[in-house]
């Protein structure tokens, strides 16, 4: 009997959580699109009907057909396959950048907010420095200096984007550390490391996840932008930004080549923003 009650209670809690986060239609749409693209990215080799790198000049600029669903580009490569593979590169790179920025930014923010005082002031001024400069321009400078490659792009963008995570986690840490359970933990003899990474981090994690989801759209956009101007991932890698820049000469004759990658970028960024918004709202409604 008691067991049953527990089970029901648990179900109630779980249901409540999902309803809270995915209750909104907009959030659900965003979540659905994100899931579709993640599946595309993971199973790209199986889903793509053709080799995205296979150049077949005889079949160039073909209109959509049964074999080439979105037609072919100026070198006869299958556009649909390239989009599918491109989602793999875009999502992978943005995911790596996001993980690195979180791993750098969040601990810095946590420690800075927890210690407070002069150290906090010092770290905040550095963060201000990074936030004051337009992030795209700064990343451009770094990537330009290091030379164009995917790895350098990841490095450049990680250098720039950690600051906003540091700032958010610092602000949240200051909020949480004033709560009385932190005092209770200290009175119980809990070590500072344990308080910081065991208790405070867990309390601020959902906000950070919401911010990360919001930002990943921006990161995807920036990666495409860098690739478009030739500083990011290098051709012939099928990447959305590269596809856009490769086809800019055909904007008059064959606008499909630019439109499709452009629309895909818009859809993915929008989906991540919708999902991030939903996560954020779900958090505040609690």
């Amino acid at each position: 009997m008691n067991h049953k009650v527990r089970k029901l209670e648990k179900k109630g809690v779980m249901h409540f959580r999902w309803a809270e986060y995915l209750g909104d239609t907009k959030t659900r749409i965003g979540f659905g699109i994100v899931v579709i693209f993640v599946i595309l990215a993971i199973f790209a080799p199986m889903i793509a009907p053709n080799d995205p790198l296979y150049v077949d000049v005889i079949n160039k600029l073909q209109p959509p057909s049964r074999q080439f669903w979105f037609g072919t580009d100026n070198m006869g490569r299958c556009l649909f396959s390239r989009i599918v593979w491109g989602s793999r590169y875009s999502l992978l790179y943005s995911f790596i950048i996001m993980v690195i920025t979180i791993l750098i930014g969040v601990p810095i923010g946590l420690v800075s907010g927890y210690i407070g005082g002069k150290i906090d002031n010092f770290i905040m001024r550095i963060i201000d420095l990074f936030m004051a400069m337009p992030s795209f321009v700064l990343a451009l400078a770094i990537a330009g200096t290091l030379g164009p490659s995917g790895k350098n792009l990841v490095f450049a963008m990680s250098c720039v984007y950690w600051a906003s995570y540091a700032r958010l986690s610092r602000a949240l840490t200051i909020q949480v550390k004033e709560q009385s359970f932190i005092l209770a933990l200290k009175a119980g003899g809990c070590s500072h490391t344990k308080i910081l990474f065991g208790h405070i981090l867990k309390n601020i994690m959902d906000s950070i996840v919401a911010l990360a989801t919001m930002e990943i759209g921006g990161i995807i956009l920036s990666i495409a932008g860098f690739s478009f101007i030739g500083l990011g991932v290098q051709p012939p890698t099928p990447e959305w930004g590269i596809m856009l820049s490769d086809s800019k000469n055909y904007i008059q004759t064959c606008p499909r080549l630019m439109l499709i990658p452009g629309i895909v970028v818009v859809i993915v960024v929008m989906a991540f923003n919708l999902l991030g918004d939903g996560l954020k709202n779900g958090r505040y409604e609690r």
Partner: protein, 264 residues
Amino acid sequence: MADMNDNGEIKIENLEIDFRIKKGTVSVIKNIDMSVKKGRVTALVGESGSGKSVTSHAVMGLLPMNVKKLSGKIWIDGESVESLSVKERQKINGTKVGMIFQDPVDSMNPLYTVGNQMIEGIRRHRKISKSEAEEKAVQSLEAVNLSNARQLMKKYPFELSGGMCQRVMIAMTMSLEPEYLIADEPTTALDVTVQKQIIKELLYMSHEKNVGILFITHDLGVVAEVADDVYIMKDGKIVEQGTVYDIFDHPEHPYTKMLLDAIL
């Protein structure tokens, strides 16, 4: 418990604390002397802002960053608190001196279950396995008259009532078997019937387990029920001290008389 005097005590001597504010400093505690003896309940009574909590935080080493001046001495069983390193301090907190707070629900991390937090606390100070710690947690929950302790272990703090939470806090603190307990307004946030039960638990601890309790409150009604020794505090100063009978039968300081008149 034949000899109460040899039993050990928390001794505060000449404690003075200043806080730094935007313009200059504020003196919060002015030359306080007091002692908390084992096996007795010592009440520290005063209005809001009189410095009761700051005194207790000083004993636990929990003072905020903006403390400017801290002079005087605090001894716990003859050991001076100032000479302790951070590690030693963390070791004493919980095992030697436990503390419970005014708002029991907020005193627990809302994201961990009761059991999680109790086991974490016990294993922090005692090198025992997880299942042994769980056993101990259940025992101490049962010791404060919480039925269904095993189910309670799986609940989150927000699923419990205020009174239950305070019992859990007491159980959590007592599971480490501290020799002293600082209770910072433990009954203020609770309703009267629950207050009485919590006070009963605390009295039991004090008498049966020889725990020295520093009971901080602004409620003289509660003091009359629990305390052995009473300190009356106003604006950072101890204005009157004595046994509970002295204070209630022959209050000397006008402020004490005022407080007594204010009992509903």
